[in-house]
Amino acid sequence: MDIIVCVKSVPITTGAELIPDKTRKDVILDNIPFDINEWDEYALEEAIRLKERFGGNVTVISVSSRDIDEAILKCLAKGADRAIKIVDKLVAEYDAYTIAKILYTVIKSMKYDLILCGAQAGDDGYALVGVMLASLLRIPYVTFVKRLELINGSLRTVRELEEGFEEIVEVELPALLTVQTGINEPRYASIMAIRKARQKEIITLDLKSINFAESNFDGWIEIQEFFTPERRKKCIMLQGDLNEITTKVVEILRQKGILR
């Protein structure tokens, strides 16, 4: 089974204060580390597990603005066989539709049984690229997949709905699935394996080499202005040393009748 996994490298913003730049159309991410998008990490793990059971190859594809991409090396270290990188300096400016068209341009001439994407990305949260790519390729797809099983050449998937509900959907291969977090437990990549990953096949392309037409740069989404969200409530921050803080908490809980 030959599997393609689409991977996005995203800023890990936990702990960071995000500030828009002067134009307000962009965010300053200079000192923020990048890593594999969390959902993609689950998609990759699922691909590697399928390969381990049924054989075949796992190819990771990423559209990236970075020449050296730790996220891609990590994918190879975990067990992907090769990586295709489409490098372009302006990637951050492309919207989901443009990214889907770039991926489509590369993937349409490839041989594959299954394409896995993360259900969404942690930075923009669009949840668009996977289904757009499947629609451009005209292959069946299922979104928010939580479990999957190969039965007589078809895929039986369980997709996640809200409030604990799930739904069983079957599709014929080749197909595209967008993967929800929690489908598996992603393995870690050792530093040794990441170092060795450089020896694996990494194909670097750019928009010129894939003949990505100028007319394709007609993205749909344009960010006009980032701003810091107003808080829903006025949160009172408890200040002081640990002793003072915990004393205040106990006081509040007593006032509210939660502790007697």
Binding site: G164, I168, E172, W220, I221, Q224, V250
Partner: protein, 329 residues
């Protein structure tokens, strides 16, 4: 502007709350732009849903066909494409749900309609379609426009808008069945209902909830101790379930439970919307998080920016000491 179309979502014979929220949002947009608001409901044996929807829209279109008994994105797309090509609405609003996201992006590609997802606010400014949505897990928001087009698709976030019923009913139109193309390569087999649960966190008065910040399952006993001395029930956010530290019955949020306890103590939870959705109406929210910029402080009443592994043990001994002290009086 002529028409704003809203796709109604329903499950097991009931309209989802988000449907009324999106319709209310759609009505405001319609009023601002002199447009009609139309609700579309697709399914099998759904006349009562159409009647209910009539209180929220100028017109309700019912597409009633055995072929769309289940939510099947490809059949739903065929029906919606037909309606859009026929009526040419300027805006199509779809709930930002698992169903909505299985459908909306492919509809956008098929009909070449610009799409934006998970929107909080929608408006037209000088003829441009403008939305407000979050980025970076809620750390920033942005004003976003779509490329100019005769029509636009937006998926609308669940649980952030009010729903208001109209006094009078709109017109209800039953559509003729279409000759839908068979889709043999994708089959919806059926729903799986949530399994019976040992604990129902939605009825708890005090909830001690943990997130990714606890770092490891081996740190859970500390939180359990706090929960015990405070008389609470343990709950969690999504990463904790994803990593199998706690079972899904403990999950608060969009894919889990909605809770409204007297106290919600959020420990090491960043406050992504899919968690906040499930706890934002708690009476009292206290959040402990190392990250002063964590979105959880946007919904909390009290915030503590500290290492939870320092705060929690102190809190336990203070509460425990208090109880113990009083017993001895």
């Amino acid at each position: 502007m002529k028409e704003i179309l809203v796709l109604a979502e329903h499950r097991l014979g009931k309209l989802k709350d988000v449907t009324f929220e999106v319709l209310t949002k759609g009505r405001k947009l319609a009023q601002e732009n002199n447009a009609r608001l139309t609700a579309v409901v697709i399914g099998y044996d759904i006349d009562p849903l159409g009647e209910e929807l009539a209180y929220y829209a100028d017109e309700v279109l019912i597409y009633d066909d055995y072929k769309v008994k289940e939510f099947h994105s490809e059949y739903f797309r065929q029906v919606l494409s037909h309606i859009i090509l026929d009526r040419k609405p300027e805006v199509i609003l779809i709930p930002h749900t698992s169903y909505g996201l299985e459908l909306a992006p492919s509809l956008a590609i098929e009909l070449n309609i610009p799409i934006i997802t998970d929107v909080l606010e929608i408006s037209f400014e000088n003829g441009r379609f403008v939305v407000i949505r979050e980025y970076f897990g809620g750390k920033l928001k942005a004003k976003v426009t779509l490329r100019e087009s005769p029509r636009y698709i937006a998926t609308v976030r669940v649980g952030v808008s009010k729903s208001e019923k109209n006094e009078s009913k709109g017109q209800v139109t039953k559509m003729q069945n279409l000759d839908l193309m068979d889709i043999p390569y994708k089959r919806v087999i059926g729903l799986i209902k949530p399994p019976p649960e040992a604990v129902d966190i939605s009825s708890a008065g005090i909830i001690v909830a943990v997130g990714r910040g606890i770092g490891d399952a081996k740190n859970l006993p500390l939180i359990e101790e706090l929960s015990k001395v405070i008389g609470g029930v343990i709950a969690c956010s999504r990463p904790v379930v994803d990593m199998k530290w706690l079972p899904k019955e403990r999950l608060v949020g969009l894919s889990g439970k909605v809770v409204k306890p007297k106290l919600y103590l959020a420990i090491g939870i960043s406050g992504q919307f899919y968690h906040v959705y499930g706890m934002m109406n708690s009476e009292l929210i206290i959040a402990i998080n190392k990250d002063p910029n964590a979105p959880i402080f946007g919904v909390a009443d009290y915030g503590i920016v500290e290492d939870l592994f320092k705060v929690v043990p102190q809190l336990i001994s203070k509460i425990y000491g208090k109880m113990y002290g009083e017993e001895n009086k």
